[in-house]
Every structure is written in C-alpha cells, then in structure tokens.
Amino acid sequence: MRYLPLSETDRGEMLARVGVRSMDELFADIPQAMRAHGLPKLPRHKGEMEVERLLSRLAAQNRPAGAGPFFVGAGAYKHYVPATVDHLIQRSEFLTGYTPYQPEIAQGFLQYMFEFQTQVCLLTGMDVANASVYDGSTACGEAVLMAHRVTRRRKAVLSGGLHPHYAEVVRTLSALGGDTVETLAPDVRATEDLLAAIDDTVSCVVVQTPDVFGNLRDLQAIADKAHAHGALLIAVFTEAMSLGLVTAPGDMGADIVVGEGQSIGNALNFGGPYVGLFATRAKFVRQMPGRLCGETVDAEGKRGFVLTLSTREQHIRREKATSNMCTSSGLCALAFSIHLALLGEVGLRRVARINHAAAVKLADALGAVPDVEILNDTFFNEFTVKLPKPAADVVAALAAKGILGGVPVSRLLPGAGLDDHLLVASTEVNTDDDRAALVAALQEVL
C-alpha cells in the first residue's frame, strides 16, 4: 500500500522489538468479545489511477458553475480566484502544518493570521478580528452566544432579512443553550420594523446587509436603538466582496460583524469548506470566540507572533470557554488573505464595482421581461425577482437548458408564501452572453 512505509520485514522486526509475536497481540487490551477482525465488507485497496477514475466519474455527474451561464448565490458566490492563490496554499509548509501552538516553527502561519486579522478589521471597520471560524453561519451563531455573554441577557432578535440557514443555526444553538430567539417574518423588501423589537430584554439584534434578498440595509438607526437599550448590533454579510463597495458595518454602529468569506479566495465546494469572518470592538475581545494571533518578541527581541488570549479557549478554560471551537478555517483563511493581498484596495474596489455593474445590467434586462418584477430598490450583486410561476419550476426548466438561473426562495423558506420569488446573482464571471442567455431562456420557460 503506497501510503504505508513499513514492509512486512519491518513489521516483523518491530514486533520482535516490542516483544509480541503478532499484530493481534498488540491489541490485547481490546477484550476478545469486542474485537473486530478487519474490515471485510469494504473493498480492497485501489491504485491511484483507479481511484482517480472512480472519483472523476462521480465528479462528471455534477454540473460545474464554470460550465455555462450561472447565477446562483444566496450565500455562496462564484468568483474568479487567481491561480496563484491555490498554488500557494498547496505549499507543503502551509498544507500539512499543524495549528501553530509552537510559534518558533510556525511564524509563517502566525504572520499570515496577523495579516488576515488586520484585513478583516479593515474590511468590516472593526477593531479586532479572530483568525477565522468554520463559516459565516457558525460565526453568526457564535456571535449571538457572545452577545449573550457580553450583555448577560439571553434573547436575540433576528431580522427577516437574515439568511434562513443562518437563522436556523442561531435557533439551533439557542435551543441547545436554553436561550430565546425572536425571528421576524421574511422581509423581501426591507421594510420590517426592527426597532420595535428592541427592548431592555434583548441581548442583540442580528441584521444582514446585503440581506438574503439582496437589499442593502442602513444599520445606524438599529445600532442606536440597540445601544440605547444595552443591546448589541450584530451585522452579518454573506458576500464578502460587497465590502469593497458598500458601507462597512463598523461604520454603521455594529458591535460584532460576522460573515462568510468564501467569495474571496475560495471555491464553491458544494458548501464547504468556507471561512467564517468574525470581528468586534476592542472592548469585547475577551468575550470573543476563536483563535487569535498577537504580536510579541522572541528571546532575542525580534518581532514575532503567537497565539494569544487562549484563556478564552476550550483547551484552557474547558467548560468556561467562549466556545468549544478548536479548529479555524486555516487554509481557507489563507486563501482569503492571499487573494485579498493580490486584489489590494484598488482591485477589490474594482471587482466589487464590476459585480455591481453586472447585477445592474442583469436586473435591467430581467426587469424588461414581461411578467417579471425586480423587487429590490438597492442591491449589490444579487436581487430578488418575482415570477409569474413557481420559481423552483422555472429554475428546473432553465437547468434543463443548461442555465443555472438562481435560487428559488422556496428552497430556503418553504411554506413562506414566496414560491414565486427567485434570487439571482451576477458576478465578474458572467459575460453579456451569459446574461442574454438567461433572459432568452427565461422568456421561453415563462
């Protein structure tokens, strides 16, 4: 077996040195009654060529985003990632290194984490950021728990524009912890009255912008009212690219900003791995979950970096930890950081403008299709379309024509009476031909 360096001779010599006669004897501590005898129901080992063929065959059954017109978003976005990014994260010393608990031999990891944290602070307009969590939705769940710790209250208010999966994650965690969640009704046109939901029992208000329907939200009034009642504003985003063009949540009074970083540096991956961004105000840093890298000096006085404030973490604090998380989204965060370094200020802003322009073009074109209505006043690169038919049927019909036309709201919010609503995204990867193909196909299937 190509991955196992020991030969039968090696094994024999080593068993003799250990003082046992067989591999079986090594497992003497496992009572006979519980012993398994190999894994006979599983197939034998396979050569690399054969494995590659098997998996390639499975992969070929799926329709990749890049294979044709593609307008699917709703929390994960197709962007162009430079070849350099993927090349660099595959370097052995990044790919196969451990969590940097031994800082002397992990300065590469630690320095990029410090850089990543700074990039996230700048993007979100916040003071401190952790070195990433699993994804945007878990970041959102953790943010609510953190708000409970900070405010010592246990009730969260969720905007009706929050991605339904994110809201579900918050509700799941809250149910497990015995906390309360008030979820407002789905808010397609960003007209909900969040202010009314805020009172002195509320620990936090969770608002997404651009929201799941694509609307941009001004958070300042919500922040003001939340703060007046001793509550926190948690701002959420699912499209990190939007931060290059829209007002930073930190500039609108957010106390915690969480979001999905997949758009920068990371592939769609059928949902994971992604990279959860998590930032907050300096005063809350000790209540923040997740790994943190900090600057210090070594014994010779040279600048260096270490994991720090680990007294918040599970491996030190056990049941008093800020979270049970002990994994960040390492390589995905690295990809994010490299891609963002390549973009830089000018590149990010420009790509963000291209995204917005692409979506505006598409909205204008779709809006001109009879019986199709664009529901958004504002948006970044995604918006909601009202169709004369169930959106799921339309999407299926478009898929049959080779076009992935978006996400039916019914898939995220079944039974919400929004079956004729479709979320449509357009990014820098879409060409005019792609958009024309969608418009033409839509006209055919409606």
């Binding site: 991955y3 020991l6 080593m14 591999m23 003497a28 496992i30 009572p31 006979p40 599983l42 080992h45 690399e48 494995v51 998996l55 065959r57 499975l58 992969a59 059954q61 799926n62 990749p64 699917v72 709703a74 430079p82 660099l88 370097r91 010393e93 451990y98 940097p100 002397e104 590469g108 990029y112 410090f114 850089e115 602070c121 950021a129 799941t172 497990l176 939200r217 290059g244 592939a267 949902g271 994971g272 791995p273 900090g294 070594d298 014994a299 491996h315 604090r317 056990r318 049941e319 989204s329 690295l334 370094a341 390549l342 000018v346 420009r350 291209i354 917005h356 504002t378 992935l404 039974g415």
Partner: protein
C-alpha cells in the same frame, strides 16, 4: 532574512489582478456606497508569491519532518486527495444549485457515509459538522434531543467527563447547557466502571469518554461502562479523536457508543492546514439516530435524496441546522479518496502500523523516560510523564523545544492533565522504520543530555528555528492583534 508584514510591503495603488473598469452605469446602492479608503495594501503578483513562499518556509510541516503530536494524528496527506478535491465537478459546484444537477456530489457523500458507518459499526451518520468540536456538539445535541423526546429534558442534565478528557468535551457540554461532573481515572489510566456506577442516576444525561483514551490506552471496560450508563437511562458520547488506533480491530458500534465524531483531518488524512478547515461527521447509534441535524441524506426511489427541511424528514426528528449548506464537501472528497485508496485492508493495516509504531517508540525509550502507567502495551500513542526529568532543571516544555533543534515538531505536552508534565507521542503509520529509529535515537540522545545536566541545550531551545522562544505573556498582557499604521513622524514628534 526577515519578511516584512503585508502592510509594510503593500501599497494602496498596487494590485495583482487585472480587470477593466465596468462601463458607466447607474448604481443601485442607495445611500450605502462605501466612502473613504479601506486601507488595504495590494501587491503585484511577483511580490505576493515571494511574500507567501517566504512565509511558508518559516513553518514546520509533515512534509518536512515528523510531527508526533499525540491525539492529533498528523499523518501523510496524499496529493491525490488534493487533485480530486479540485475536480470542477466537486470544487466548482454550488450548494444551492438544483439537486438534479449534482447527483455525483450526493453519491459521493452517501459513499463516504457508508464507509464511515462500516468502519465504526454504527447505523447512522451526520456529515454536517464542520470540525471535530462541531461534531461533538452535534452528537451531544442528538443525545439531548433524545432525552427531551423521552420527556426528561428538565431532569437529565449532567454530563460525566473523565479527568483525561479533551478540553473540548466540557466546553461542548456547556454549549448544550449541561453541567459537567468529573469521573476520576484509576491508577492504570482507564475509567473504572465502579466509579461510573457510583455517579450515574436520573440526573445524568451522558458520559463523554475518549476511546482509545488520551493516555494512549484502550478503555477495556467500555462495554461494562456502557451497560451501566444505558441502564441508568443515559447515553455515551465517545470522542473519536483516536479512531486511527482501532480500524478493523474494534468498532465503536460494538462497544455501546451512542455518538462519536470522526475527525477527517486526523484519521482520514485531510490536511491540517495550520489549523483547519476540519470536518467532523458524527456516527450515531439507533438510540439517537432520529435526532440528527439538517440536512440529511436519504436513499429514495431516484437514488440519494437531500433533505433540507424538517417537514420532509419523515421519521427523522432533526434538532435543527448546525451550519449553512451541507458540510465540508472538499474534505469529504479527500477523505473518500483516502479510503478508496486504502481499502478495508489498508485502513486496518494503517491502524496496526500506527499502534506498532507507538509501541516501538515506547520500548525504545522506556528505559530512559518514565511511563506513568507502566511499560505496557499502548495504542496509537504513548504517554510519558516528567518524573524522569526531576531535578534535571529541564521541563517538559524545554525538552519539547529542544526537539525542534533536532528537526522535529514537539510532541503534545502537558496533556492529558492526569499525569504531570505529560509528553504524548503519536508517530502514526506514515513514518518509515528508519524514521522511527532516528526519532528514538534522537530522543535518547536528548534524554541522556538532560539527565547529564546539559540543561542549557534545553532551557534556551530552540536555537536553530526561525525564532527563539517567544514572549507569550507579553502578547497576552498587551495584546497587539492587528497591524496599525505607524504614526506619521510629525505626529509622533508631538
């Protein structure tokens, strides 16, 4: 050569991407267009490549040398896994595109699930958790839901956790709102069923156990313990971090386990990547299998189906959703690639080799270093304590740092907490005999030096790393968690 920070190298007007400005258009941003500089530095592509290549060279990794971290299972990461995970049919597929356009993705998840269930002997699985601790949360949530379904939510709330548990176990219990009660470990490093019997009762929700445990030992009374726990109406969560020891030798499903996470980045070779991403599928017993989170996979008339909504879940009673979308697909591809490559025979051999390697190190060092539970067979990792370093002026930390100078990543230190100055060594099946021999020889050399009083070699170590020891106290006391621009000279002078 030092490597400057991105913020010191980069420039506001530099970029490593080329895009043309869009043609003029009317923005639809309302009043929410970002104004002012973000402050992000940019790099041209050559600068970016050099920056990150140089940073990478400051890291130790499996590919550069052994990383014998106990309970972390740092094994070889095959490159075929990486290639497969990047096939457009897996990497370039959106979680919300029509299910009809992703049958291969669902089939892959189903196949992975089948392998994991067969390896563990468990009847159900959730692929949703995004890391090991997330899997623990998932498993404990399933147990909590099962308790609630029996109407005992209000009364059955305490979790028993042995002293030797990972810190994640108590933290996870806290997240599901359950207080923790400790179970002392007996002198041989394992859990005594009699102790468990003393502690169980109608208030006990679950026992969280690790098997093989963090002392590198198989909990030989696990079946008896399970019987006691189940008879008391409680459940057993097993931390699966050490699954790499027992594939083909024991199946958690045969041991009475109700839920166990599987760290794909440990046993199944998905890369650690300096801290993630992980993936932590949870296998579930029949007792709790109805209570998995959304989404679920189900075999229907047309093949594999994806259940995303509780109302569609039939007999299942999902406790909610743990994260957006369907889990760590990229890691699933890698893990399945690894499993298909090994086959059942190769996986069993991997466990055998891993256990053999740990024991080989044990016998190689037993005369010089101290074994807290005696020189007996261990599983995939061997636990030493620091009794042998007494009065040498060398601590476990010093010894570990001196390993760096010899070309090794330190072993796991000061864990488990049940022994003093723990050194937990897990070589995995990926090291050749020559590599193991060199490791033993090097550690013997170090151990002899420590005993001989050459303490400077240790207390000042590492000497040959990119950095000497770092001031962690300073980092924590005066946290500097992000770069800030230096004050302009004029301002600084004020």
């Amino acid at each position: 050569q030092e490597e400057a920070l991105l913020f010191e190298l980069g420039r506001a007007d530099a970029t490593g991407v080329d895009f043309d400005e869009p043609e003029p258009f009317i923005a639809r941003l309302g009043t929410l267009e970002r104004t002012g500089d973000i402050g992000l530095p940019g790099l041209s592509e050559p600068e970016a490549v050099r920056h990150y290549v140089r940073l990478s060279q400051r890291n130790f990794s499996i590919d550069t040398g052994p990383v014998p971290l106990g309970s972390c299972t740092m094994k070889h990461n095959p490159r075929l896994n990486e290639r497969m995970a990047r096939l457009p049919g897996f990497a370039d597929v959106h979680p919300l595109q029509p299910v009809s356009t992703v049958p291969g993705a669902l089939a892959l998840m189903q196949e992975l699930a089948a392998w994991l269930m067969e390896i563990t002997g468990m009847p159900a699985i959730s692929l949703s958790p995004r890391a090991g601790a997330h899997g623990e949360l998932c498993g404990m949530a399933a147990i909590k839901s099962a308790i609630a379904a029996k109407g005992e939510a209000a009364t059955r709330k305490v979790v028993l956790v042995p002293d030797s548990a990972h810190g994640t176990n108590p933290a996870t219990a806290a997240m599901v709102g359950m207080p923790v009660r400790a179970v002392p470990v007996r002198a041989d490093g394992t859990v005594d069923p009699a102790e468990v019997a003393k502690l169980v009762g109608p208030d006990i929700a679950a026992l969280m156990i690790t098997n093989p445990n963090t002392c590198g030992l198989f909990e030989r009374d696990i079946a008896e313990i399970a019987r006691i726990v189940h008879e008391a109406g409680a459940y057993i969560y097993c931390d699966g971090a050490n699954l790499n020891a027992i594939m083909g030798r024991a199946r958690p499903g045969d041991l009475g386990i109700d839920a166990m996470q599987i760290n794909l980045h440990k046993t199944f070779s998905t890369p650690h990547g300096g801290g993630g991403p992980g993936s932590g599928p949870v296998v579930l017993s029949a007792r709790v299998s109805a209570f998995a989170p959304l989404p679920l996979l189900r075999t229907g008339a047309d093949g594999v189906e994806l259940v995303e909504v509780g109302a569609d879940a039939d007999e299942a009673r999902p406790f909610g959703r743990l994260s957006a979308f369907h889990g760590q697909m990229g890691m699933f591809v890698r893990a399945l690639t690894y499993m298909l490559s090994h086959g059942g025979d190769g996986l069993a051999q991997a466990s055998d080799d891993a256990v053999l390697a740990a024991n080989y190190i044990r016998v190689g060092l037993a005369d010089l270093m101290s074994l807290p539970f005696g020189n007996r067979l261990c599983m995939q990792e061997v636990l030493f304590d620091d009794a042998w370093l007494k009065d040498s002026g060398v601590t476990t930390l010093d010894f570990a740092k001196a390993m760096i100078d010899e070309g090794y990543h330190p072993m796991t230190m000061y864990f488990p907490l049940v022994v003093h100055g723990a050194m937990l060594i897990e070589p995995t099946e990926s090291e050749s005999k020559a590599s193991l021999d060199l490791f033993v020889a090097t550690l013997r050399d170090l151990a002899l030096a420590a005993r001989a009083g050459d303490s400077e070699r240790f207390t000042g170590a590492p000497y040959y790393a990119p950095r000497r020891r770092l001031d962690e106290t300073r980092a924590a006391r005066q946290p500097v968690l992000r770069w800030t621009p230096p004050a302009p000279i004029a301002e600084a002078a004020e």
